[in-house]
Symmetry: C2
Subunit: 143 residues, 2 copies
């Protein structure tokens, strides 16, 4: 099995709120948008985030309604500097996100970051991390 | 905010089981491996999957232990044909995964897929989807 995720699909209680946040608020462009069902956004080369109606998500997996929860995941978005952390968090808050921890220095490594929750409870870390970069081939370098 | 996820971090109850499954069973190469804490795997250009000890995950977000759950997400891995779905699922099962739905045709679009659960409850869809491809620039094309 190749070391590759092609889709990350998240159970989404309020798909309209998700669309309003990502598409209208942050200006993201859907790859496919099926009202009442799913919105796909490309979020890395070859990789798609799918926001899928939570009831249909549970039904697809043969689970009782209300099973699906996203408390055990975070998404991180890295930016080029502390100021960009600040304005990204402001843009997310303006689009309807809840700031869980304001932009501030992390515990180590010169990280400067914030945690922000989208309208469906998905937690994003917005971070500047000087020990992280992506080389010209897409390879991530850490530390 | 750019339309980009750089890290997907999942609360992982049994990190040793995760390592045994992805690294030893499937042959994935960790980007960074900190025993008892986190294992990072690169899973797309510029994008990393982090499997993070669940207790530490909850503590980091200031939540009570046992909060984090991954019932509301699936990861998909696309392959080139039905036979590759079958042998990928066999390889995952041999590495310790639980097959939730065996390889079979999907409801539409010529999809052939299976659902498999990793040792920490993360559900993977292994799929052949003739309506999906990634072009030479990393752009996903659907439908």
């Amino acid at each position: 099995m190749k070391q590759q995720v092609h889709f990350l699909t998240l159970a989404t209680a309020d798909l309209d709120a998700a669309r309003a946040f990502y598409r209208d608020g942050l200006g993201w462009e859907p790859l496919v948008d099926v009202p009442g069902e799913i919105v796909f956004f490309q979020v890395a080369p070859g990789m798609v985030l799918g926001l899928f109606d939570a009831e249909k998500f549970d039904r697809d997996l043969g689970r009782p309604p209300g099973t699906a929860g996203v408390s055990g995941l975070t998404l991180a978005h890295n930016v080029d500097g502390p100021e960009e952390v600040e304005w990204t968090v402001r843009a997310m808050a303006a689009a309807g996100a809840k700031v869980l921890t304001p932009p501030r220095p992390g515990e180590f490594g010169g990280v400067f970051h914030a945690h922000v929750e989208d309208p469906n409870g998905v937690v994003w870390e917005i971070a500047h991390n000087p020990g992280w970069h992506v080389d010209g081939t897409g390879r991530v370098v850490l530390g």
